[in-house]
């Protein structure tokens, strides 16, 4: 068995953590950075770039680079038409089907894009374990977090992403409850906790009760389209009103600039939006001063939008704000002073921020992963389903089967019968949401209940059982009670991938993984060849070449270097990395004597008191 980790798959950044000796810890890269930007870019060679490298490409290849893909998980093309205008990459797909993102000449579904990020985190963790001298360093299982307010389709899309990344997804847990687990570690106390989680793209509020190590979610609410991204957009639109329409390169430069300004305004009363002037197609050196007060006036409506869900969750939990013992802030956007102030006002107490708000969710996911595999039982997380589950009845009205904020796992039953004689199937439409009409709820799946034994109308009694598991994901089963015949159910997810599609993508991703790997190796081979060529040419062009090599190198040797150099240059642009390796090796071999001569001369000159730089 390999290692198990906890992953916070964020809108803006993602990170991975694990538990060692009962302590959760995040995995950092060599420079101490834990955050992997959730950005994926398709290189011209077909290479996939993830994280910082992809982030740099936002400015140079915006149309081939996708960010904030979490906003598109489990959604349809028609859901995002408003947002698509501001995005530099293509968003499309069939109406009523899974959304697709176009990068270069390839198309990806959101779970595939997320899988690239997850794979990067998996590799990072494996590298970490290998460096620690672990014999068994492979990471094969994970707990992945999602916003509490994610619906079934969004959770399923996240689980699919995990599978595509080669991870067994042990559990999908909600971000605020994960955060509460991390907090609960040091304080084995009891009481009610409110977790206010404002991330890059989503907002969640969860109210939990903690007692005897049981973390019981009482209520949750939120907005899956509200976060730091929206704050950025307010500032971007401010700049755009000044400069008018710009290229997508420039748009990304503006985005980068306003994010910096947003951060500056968390620490200072005044800052400046400063767009890098060297970017192509930009108004040279755009600058605009902005005060924190102005900024707060602009973003106030966004922050106010979080208050509705907070009140809703409190009301569902049957609690007054004053009855909350502790308030915990999670998510990068809670660094904004206005957010802290409004939350403090609402609950009448200063919110906690003992943990880094960017890291606490991953820590909690690692704790949950450890609970699942280690058998430790001192803590238990009881989460709730954020949205009511219902089925369509006559007239397009929703009949609710499992109410929102029900502790999961939860189940519900519904009886069906037939309306005409000898009818053998019934159509069922499952939706999620709080509204009365099907049209106002989220369509989850449609399926046909088949195999009902032929009987007079109204006689069959088909019991359909809806089961929401501990991941908040739905499954359906059915049985005809008179005959005890199990019904076959084919569930077609409305905005998700079928199992067959996931299988196919998995196979393709293996194929592409090889292609991606090959492309990466080719680039590395070319880079190596390039550096040998540069070094050789530099030596050959030295004005004192003849003087240095005179009497040391034969004419034949010099001719050989020339031939090897020409050979390598010729194969450089090809795609056969073996040939490039071979010719690089040949040139290296041919120039060995030359390099020795050069080296000896340098040493002699250095000993003679001359500065090495002069050589």
């Amino acid at each position: 068995m390999g290692k198990v980790v906890g992953i916070d798959l964020g809108t803006t950044n993602s990170l991975v953590a694990y538990v060692r000796d009962g302590e959760p810890r995040v995995i950092r890269d060599s420079s101490g950075d834990a955050l992997v930007p959730s950005i994926v870019s398709l290189g011209e060679e077909g290479t996939i770039f993830v994280g910082r490298e992809a982030q740099r490409r936002l400015l140079t290849a915006p149309s081939r680079t996708v960010y904030s893909v979490k906003r598109f998980m489990g959604r349809g093309a028609e859901d995002v038409t408003d947002e698509a205008a501001l995005l530099p990459f293509r968003v499309g797909g069939e109406a009523g089907g899974v959304l697709r993102i176009g990068l270069g000449n390839r198309e990806f579904t959101p779970p595939e894009i997320s899988a690239f990020v997850l794979r990067e985190l998996k590799q990072r963790a494996e590298e970490h374990f290998r460096e620690q001298g672990e014999f068994d360093f492979e990471v094969d299982r994970a707990v992945i977090t999602v916003p509490a307010y994610f619906n079934d389709a969004q959770r399923t899309a996240t689980r699919d992403a995990g599978r595509l990344a080669g991870l067994e997804v042990l559990r999908i847990i909600s971000e605020p409850t994960a955060a509460s687990l991390a907090y609960g570690l040091d304080k084995k106390n009891r009481g009610t906790i409110a977790v206010y989680d404002l991330g890059g793209g989503t907002f969640d509020i969860s109210i939990l009760k903690v007692e005897d190590g049981v973390f019981q979610a009482l209520a949750t609410s939120g907005d899956t389209h509200l976060g730091g991204d929206d704050i950025d957009r307010v500032l971007i639109e401010l700049v755009l009103t000044d400069v008018g329409g710009v290229s997508s390169e420039a748009l990304q430069a503006i985005r980068k600039a306003v994010i910096q300004t947003k951060w500056d305004l968390s620490d200072h009363e005044q800052a400046e939006i400063r767009v890098e002037p060297q970017q192509a197609g930009l108004p040279a050196g755009y600058r605009r001063p902005i005060t924190r007060a102005e900024f707060e006036t602009m973003i106030r409506p966004l922050v106010d939008r979080t208050l509705g869900p907070v009140r809703q969750a409190l009301s569902d939990a049957g609690l007054e704000p004053s009855e909350i013992d502790e308030v915990v802030l999670v998510g990068g956007a809670t660094r904004t002073p206005l957010v802290r102030r409004l939350v403090a006002e609402l609950f009448g107490k200063t919110p906690h921020s003992d943990f880094n708000p960017d890291e606490v969710v991953a820590l909690g996911a690692a704790v949950q992963a450890d609970i699942l595999v280690s058998g430790r039982r001192e803590m238990l997380l009881l989460d709730v389903t954020p949205l009511s589950l219902g089925i369509e009845t006559i007239g397009g009205v929703v009949s609710k089967i499992i109410m929102r904020n029900s502790t999961i796992p939860a189940s519900g039953r519904e009886m069906y019968t037939t309306s005409v004689d000898n009818q053998t199937s019934v159509d069922i439409h499952v939706v999620q949401g709080e509204r009365e009409l099907v049209a106002d709820c989220r369509s989850l799946a449609r399926f046909k209940l088949r195999g009902i034994p032929p009987m007079p109308a109204g006689l069959p009694r088909v019991e359909v059982r809806f089961q929401i598991d501990a991941n908040g994901i739905l499954s359906v089963g059915a049985r005809e009670l008179r005959t005890s015949v199990e019904q076959s159910i084919e569930v077609k997810p409305s905005y998700g991938l079928t199992d067959q599609e996931v299988e196919r993508m998995l196979i393709e991703s293996f194929e592409h993984a090889q292609a991606d790997f090959d492309a990466r190796l080719l680039i590395e081979a070319r880079n190596e060849a390039e550096s040998v060529i540069t070094a050789t040419e530099k030596s050959l062009r030295r004005p004192d070449f003849a003087e240095v090599t005179g009497g040391e190198l034969t004419g034949e040797e010099i001719a050989q270097i020339g031939r090897a150099l020409a050979d390598l240059k010729q194969v450089m642009s090809g795609t056969d990395r073996e040939v490039i390796h071979e010719k690089t090796h040949a040139l290296n071999h041919a120039t060995r004597h030359l390099a020795e001569v050069m080296m000896n001369r340098s040493v002699r000159e250095a000993l003679a008191g001359r500065n090495v730089k002069d050589i």
Binding site: V214, V373, T407, A410, S411, E414, M415, D469, A470
Partner: protein, 258 residues
């Protein structure tokens, strides 16, 4: 597609899928091999919780038992178990959560008691629209309907929303009072059921249950009336100070100043 109550066939023993031993239906774990048992066609939330069939339950005690059973059943703790045990854990956890939800509040607790004692559900009757007005509410319902009709007329005639809102608030007062009175009545009847001696005749038990059912029907009716007033308030466009939190479709919070 109307939900019907399914006749629950009495199951008295379970068979352990692991060792094949028989176990009483109320056991959670096999007495022989101590593995988690698959859920039979269980029907009684009280015995599932190990509680007597009484309506007065100490909240703290119920919560304690809920946490204790959660720790025994939760799928988190069966990750490495056999598929049969994992399924049993999922089923038992779901059932526990359903049971906890039902027993947590007095009204749903009574509803469950009526179901396991074989009385028809109060839900289907309340939802069918043509529900009879409970005799105890006739006066209030008549007055309210008249007032609502007038308010609707005035609203369509373009009357001042603030004035209409005030009238609705006033119309709400007698219903709210009725609801409070009703809560007390429900408590009294619950206590009466709890104090029935073991030796009570089937007739006495039946009478106590019928009284509970009657009061539950009234309660549903009162809630529907209050919901009607809330909908009316919402259609005027002004929010009553305390109803905004309850309704999902309420306007944005900043509009909620009275």
């Amino acid at each position: 597609m109307t939900p019907n109550s399914i006749p629950v066939s009495p199951v008295t023993t379970l068979e352990c899928r692991n060792c094949g031993a028989g176990a009483p239906v109320d056991e959670h774990f096999c007495p022989q091999c101590s593995r988690i048992l698959a859920l039979g066609r269980h029907g009684d939330y009280f015995t599932f919780f190990g509680l007597p069939r009484r309506l007065t339950i100490a909240q703290a005690e119920l919560e304690r038992r809920f946490r204790e059973l959660s720790r025994k059943f939760h799928p988190d703790y069966y990750y490495n178990a056999t598929p049969a045990e994992r399924l049993a854990s999922l089923e038992r956890s779901s059932y526990l959560n359903d049971a906890y939800r039902a027993l947590r509040t007095p009204a749903t607790r009574i509803e469950h008691l009526l179901a396991i004692e074989g009385l028809p559900s109060t839900k289907t009757e309340g939802d069918s629209g043509g529900a009879k007005v409970p005799p105890a509410l006739l006066e209030e319902v008549f007055a309210l309907n008249e007032e609502l009709d007038e308010i609707r007329e005035q609203r369509e005639a373009g009357a001042d929303p603030a004035a209409l809102s005030a009238r609705l608030q006033a119309a709400r007062v007698p219903i709210d009072r009725k609801q409070e009175e009703h809560e007390r009545q429900m408590e009294d009847l619950s206590a009466k059921w709890d104090s029935l001696p073991e030796t009570a005749s089937p007739g006495e038990r039946r009478a106590a249950l019928e009284a509970l059912r009657e009061t539950l029907l009234e309660r549903n009716y009162i809630n529907n009336l209050l919901a009607t007033i809330d909908r009316e308030v919402a259609s005027i466009g002004l929010q009553s100070p305390d109803s905004g939190l309850r309704s999902e479709d309420s306007p944005k919070t900043e509009d909620r100043r009275p």
